[in-house]
Symmetry: C2
Amino acid sequence: MTDERPPDAGIVTDRRYGDLPLADAATAAAIIAPDATVLTSGFGSVGYPKLVPLALAEDDRDLELTLVSSGNVGEEIDVALVESGAVARRFSYQSSRVARAMTNRREVAFSDRNASAIGDEVRYGALVDPDVAVVEAVAVGEDWFVPSTSLGQVPAFVAAADELIVELNYAQPRELQALHDIYRPDAPPNRGEIPLDDPGDRIGKPYVSFDPKKLIAVVETDRADSTYMFRDPTSDDLAIAENLGAFLADEVGRTPVFEDAVHLQFGVGSLGNALMGELKKLDFGGRDVVYFGELIQDGLLDMLDAGRLESASATSLALTSDGQDRLFADVERYAEDVVLRPADVSNHPGLIDRFGVVGVNSAIEFDLYGNVNSTHVGGKRMINGVGGSADFNRNSLVSVCALPARLTGRNVSRVVPMAFHVDHTEHDIDVFVTDQGVADVRGLSPVERAERIVENCAHPDYRADLRAYLDDVKTQDSHIPHDVNRAAEWQQ
Amino acid sequence: MTDERPPDAGIVTDRRYGDLPLADAATAAAIIAPDATVLTSGFGSVGYPKLVPLALAEDDRDLELTLVSSGNVGEEIDVALVESGAVARRFSYQSSRVARAMTNRREVAFSDRNASAIGDEVRYGALVDPDVAVVEAVAVGEDWFVPSTSLGQVPAFVAAADELIVELNYAQPRELQALHDIYRPDAPPNRGEIPLDDPGDRIGKPYVSFDPKKLIAVVETDRADSTYMFRDPTSDDLAIAENLGAFLADEVGRTPVFEDAVHLQFGVGSLGNALMGELKKLDFGGRDVVYFGELIQDGLLDMLDAGRLESASATSLALTSDGQDRLFADVERYAEDVVLRPADVSNHPGLIDRFGVVGVNSAIEFDLYGNVNSTHVGGKRMINGVGGSADFNRNSLVSVCALPARLTGRNVSRVVPMAFHVDHTEHDIDVFVTDQGVADVRGLSPVERAERIVENCAHPDYRADLRAYLDDVKTQDSHIPHDVNRAAEWQQ
């Protein structure tokens, strides 16, 4: 045991500080009440607790937990714990096959929320009545811990919960501390402004503080995070990247907002990773490129290494195994340009506005009028959750929805007559990009948008059918003409 | 002619300052190119230019104007000018019978945008290529003017346009200057925070500055604003107000956010006015009540006069004729507590978040899962526009959607199985209130929301049918079960 406080600059030298309530996972899990509301760390499938969820999955009590994570977690939670039947209610993102199936059978009461807001909703918004936070850390003291590979809403969750269990993970490098910038907004109505002038700046501490009375257990582990597997870019991905690149090259010359620098955000996933890969080929006319988004992907490390990126601000490291090795081997150097923030800062509507972000996010489908469905296949069956896409789609200066015009290898158009679940409204998206082309719909009426989307974005296999639908409904005296029954047939 | 600058404090003593290009309306209108993009003042149906639009309506050139207002304007624009066929394209709100019919026949290419964002979209977002701003003022100099009864996006429009025409309206009192607080955010990415700590504070100037080279005409008029006519509260309005009051009385005790003060926003309209009327009867346990919204309605003046309101921040005076007389007779006293701001401040997502606003807005209908349609009857036919409702619904700490359970005097339920146009998604609204009751859906899964909405909010005439729909679709293995064809039948 050394000093009781972590250094504000530099890296902790030990893993444990002070007098800590060490416990094994089963003992810690047993403290959690059978009907508790449990708030976990985890975002981008990394930085989530592993042993306590596994112990809860094996707990022989009849558990009916409410489980809250601000983002994607790994299989210890999303498969083992959920499959055990211990989770009665779940917020706000899930991504395993098992969790998805149980959500769609409504065996788990699920609700997805915007990533920027769930911290406030837990603390102030009556979403849940929080009992215990279970978080992963790389170092812990009596009233502080250093989070691991993601932040998400961890600081808000720890503040909201009555009790705290820390999983101290020796498989995660202590040096992750160098990435963290943990700024806590005050409570409304006196919370003031977030004093962040540049995405690369630091305004907070590298650790989370808590009331020492909350800490009921510290569980040690060396179980590694799941990491991302990205497929190689498909020809569709590359065509989308090319179309997006052409749009961006024009766009940066259009307004003085982009005179010196372009602030970008990309949604996660194989497409997002491919887009970032292609992006480093663009020179943006010598402008600085800055990332203000949610997740650090391998493509961003490539851009940093190539000197093509000034800085990257996010809330999680959504890296492949290779990417993680690369980052872990050189955390302090990457920390000069990479900052991890709580999700209520990384995704803050006011900050996205201030930096004039160009946000690029994918979805399941979009419709002729520009409504976007990110979450429910056929409007009904949940895939993952809305995540942070609505934060960026709504608040970006230029919001781009990018996806392949058809579902790869299946006879399904991702441009549809009518979206039967809407996560982003016709007011939110400025530009649609597919492998077929770009539809910049700014300034267009709904029917004009539809014309451009059909011509520029739809796959040729479906263009004639979409065109016929549009021509037929246009005979209506309606601002947004529709034939719901015919649109429903299309879905089948 | 007196000094060339208006006083920053106190009230202008004259109407005209310096050497101004006075012109009659026809002469000013003739300067506007036939295909110009014209940005006008006007929000909440007040403070819009009147003579120049009327002159454009009578212009014998073949006009194809793009007309942009940030909010509701009066009949000189929305009836006379639109009906003349001079407007080819229109943003972002309209409310006359004539404009609505032409929008639905698509004789005008219309697109509605969020009130907070249209200033940035005009300046930086490629929505339009602005030519001339036409604004109403109560006083004007060579490089400044004092706006009249609304601000909306006037400062952004004036900054974006190449030319400026000022309508100097002698029917509007000079003393309106006392209400204005015109703060201009810088351009992204260096725009910084909006330094507003309290809705009653002032952070800007009482006038709009402009490049003097832009001013091409000053047109004098004494034509009065249209004013609001609110119907007397109906029994539905009063029942909604009672239900809302009961909810709010509970809610303010729930979280420390409301310990000292409650920050409220109410949508405009007869229902909004009735809600504000009833609200002054609530004592909120002695907490301060602060208004941070879009429009000042008569009910807010009542609350101020009764000492029940600390301050009111908005972008427009949506007052009845009586309310306007009352305010105009005593502007400087009201200005101690009433502040008018540009709409990119009054509706700013970051500020709505910071103040922990409880936002109450109406709509056309909401569906079982909590999706809200504010704009298109049957998903097709435009009514007015989304206005600022999405700003408050998304960013409020507690967002309430309030409407009568059925359309007054008609056999139509305003709780529907499925909304076929979505302006506010299932992620946005926390609480639904009708004359029938309150459905607090925070923390509920979609199907749980549906159960509560049917039981608590639907009108008894439709409850059994909605219940039957829900029971039938619940047999599906879907997170959000639906029967689109059956939902479409319901709409007919």
